[in-house]
C-alpha cells in the first residue's frame, strides 16, 4: 500500500527539481529527511523506477567505494541521489555533502532518516518552508491533486474531509510526511479501497456513492463519530460495560 506513497514522494521530488532546473546552481545540496530506513528505501526505489521509466537516470561513482544513480536534468546538470541505506553512516553522507561531485559539480539530494542535524546543516531541507514537503506545501498540493484527480464524488469528499481532519488534529505531527501517507497513497492510486476506510478512522460504507454530496458529508461525519466512540472503548474502556450501556440506551430510545 505504501508503494503509492513512495511513488508520490518520488514524482514530486523529480517535479520539484525539474521546475527549479533553470535556477539550480552547481554544488547545491538538498536533504529529504524521512522517519524510517524503510521509508528511505521505498523512496530510493521509487526514484530509481521513475527515472528509469522516464529515461532520465544517470550513474555516479564516488571513487571506488560508492556508486549511486542521478536524476538527469540537462546535459550539464544531474542530481546525485545518496540514500542512507544498506548500513551507510551519517559520516559518509557528510563526506558526500562536502565533496565536489564530478568536474561539473553536480548537486546532491541526500535522503536520510537520521535524527541528528549533522547532515541537514548546510543543506536545503525539502521539508522547510517554501519547499515541496513542507506541511503547508503538502496540504496545498493534496488539495490541488484532489481537484485534479478523476475521483468519484464520494471518494473526493472522503479525501477532502480527511484532509480537514488532519489539519484540525492538534496531536498529529504535521511536519511528518508519513502523516499524509494514507491520503497520498489514495491520490497516487486514484480511488478509495475498502481497506482505506479504517486508515481514515471510518467504518466501511459500501453505499456511500449512492447518496448526494451533502448526505455523503453527513454520513462521513456520523461514521467518524461512531468509529471514534468504538475506538475509545477498545483502547481505554471496558467493552462489556460499554455494550451494556449501549443496549440500555437503545432499549430506552428505540429510535436511536
Amino acid at each position: 500500500m505504501l508503494n503509492e506513497f513512495y511513488k508520490y514522494i518520488a514524482n514530486n521530488t523529480i517535479s520539484f527539481f525539474q521546475s527549479r532546473s533553470p535556477v539550480i546552481r552547481p554544488g547545491e545540496r538538498y536533504c529529504l529527511r524521512l522517519d524510517t530506513e524503510e521509508m528511505v528505501k521505498g523512496v530510493d526505489l521509487a526514484l530509481r523506477e521513475k527515472t528509469t521509466i522516464d529515461g532520465i537516470q544517470g550513474q555516479f561513482q564516488y571513487g571506488s567505494v560508492y556508486s549511486t544513480f542521478t536524476i538527469k536534468m540537462s546535459a550539464d546538470l544531474e542530481i546525485v541521489v545518496a540514500s542512507k541505506i544498506n548500513g551507510m553512516t551519517d559520516d559518509f553522507l557528510a563526506t558526500l555533502r562536502n565533496a565536489e561531485l564530478t568536474a561539473k559539480r553536480f548537486p546532491i539530494l541526500m535522503i536520510t532518516h537520521s535524527p541528528i542535524d549533522t547532515i541537514t546543516s548546510g543543506t536545503g531541507d525539502l521539508a522547510a518552508n517554501g519547499m515541496p514537503f513542507h506541511a503547508a506545501s503538502i496540504i496545498a498540493k493534496i488539495k490541488d491533486d484532489i481537484r485534479a484527480t478523476e475521483l468519484s464524488p464520494a471518494d473526493r469528499i472522503l479525501l477532502e474531509k480527511e484532509l480537514e481532519r488532519k489539519q484540525g488534529d492538534r496531536f498529529s505531527d504535521k511536519s511528518s510526511l508519513f502523516e499524509y501517507s494514507n491520503l497520498l497513497t489514495v491520490l497516487g492510486r486514484g480511488y478509495v479501497e475498502k481497506s482505506d476506510f479504517a486508515a481514515f478512522d471510518l467504518l466501511y460504507d459500501d453505499s456511500l456513492s449512492s447518496f448526494s454530496e451533502e448526505k455523503i458529508r453527513g454520513r462521513l461525519e456520523k461514521n467518524h463519530a461512531i468509529f471514534e466512540h468504538i475506538d475509545r472503548i477498545f483502547r481505554h474502556g471496558n467493552i462489556a460495560d460499554a455494550l451494556e450501556k449501549e443496549k440500555a440506551k437503545r432499549s430506552s430510545d428505540p429510535c436511536n
Partner: protein, 210 residues
C-alpha cells in the same frame, strides 16, 4: 537567466556550494568575505614556528561546528601569500568517513596512523593539520580505536582542550602535537578586526558598530 545580484545573493544560501568549505578551491567570493581574526594570527605564528623545524607535527585546529576551521585552512592553502600550509597534509573535516560503512572514528584512526603510539616518535618530518570539533575529538580519544592514541590523549588532557578556561595557543617546543582552539577566543574577538585593535585589547569592530 537570474540577474547577477540574485546569483551573488544565492551564494549566501544554506544549500549553496559556498556554504561548505573544501580545500580544493577558494574562489574570489570567499576571499571577499574573509575577515582577519585573532585565531588566524595565532595559527600563522604557530605554522611559522613549525615550518622552521623539520619535525613531525600534528596540528589540531579545534572548535565547534560552523566557527570557520575549514574556511581558515582553505584560505591559508589557497589564498594566503605566505603559503604556510604547503608542506602540510590537510584533513579538513574530521566528521567525514572514507567509505559508506565506515564512521568518522574509523577514518580518523586510519588517517592518523602516523601519529598513533607506535609511530608518533618516528620523526619523518610528516606534517598534518586536522580541523576537528571538540566533541568529535573527545569521541575519538575515548573510542576503542582511540586506545592506540594514548600520547595524543595525554596531550589533549594536559592542555585542557575540553575545559572552559581560555588558554594561550602557543607553540610547544619538542612536541609532535600542537593546537589552536577556536574555543579559546571570546565571541566578540571573532568579530575584531585585528589591524585596528587597540592596545587595551578592546574589540574595536564592535565599538565602531555601537
Amino acid at each position: 537567466m537570474p540577474c547577477r545580484f540574485i546569483s551573488q545573493l544565492s551564494k549566501l544560501r544554506k544549500l549553496s556550494a559556498e556554504s561548505v568549505e573544501n580545500t580544493a578551491s577558494f574562489n574570489a567570493f570567499k576571499k571577499y568575505l574573509h575577515v582577519l581574526r585573532p585565531v588566524e594570527v595565532d595559527l600563522k605564528n604557530l605554522l611559522n614556528k613549525v615550518n622552521t623545524t623539520n619535525n613531525k607535527t600534528l596540528i589540531l585546529l579545534c572548535g565547534s561546528a560552523g566557527d570557520g576551521k575549514s574556511h581558515l585552512i582553505s584560505y591559508l592553502r589557497n589564498a594566503d601569500n605566505e603559503h604556510l600550509l604547503d608542506s602540510f597534509e590537510l584533513y579538513n573535516d574530521a566528521t567525514e568517513s572514507s567509505a559508506p560503512q565506515l564512521t568518522s572514528i574509523d577514518t580518523l584512526a586510519e588517517k592518523l596512523v602516523p601519529f598513533n603510539d607506535e609511530n608518533y616518535t618516528t620523526d619523518d618530518g610528516f606534517k598534518m593539520i586536522l580541523a576537528i570539533n571538540l566533541g568529535t575529538l573527545n569521541n575519538f580519544i575515548e573510542s576503542e580505536k582511540g586506545q592506540a592514541f594514548s600520547a595524543l590523549k595525554k596531550y589533549v588532557e594536559a592542555n585542557e582542550l575540553f575545559s572552559t578556561y581560555v588558554r594561550p595557543n602557543k607553540y610547544q617546543v619538542n612536541s609532535v602535537f600542537q593546537h589552536v582552539s577556536f574555543s579559546d577566543y571570546q565571541y566578540y574577538e571573532k568579530l575584531n578586526l585585528i589591524e585596528k585593535k587597540s592596545d587595551s585589547g578592546d574589540a574595536q569592530y564592535v565599538k565602531r558598530i555601537l
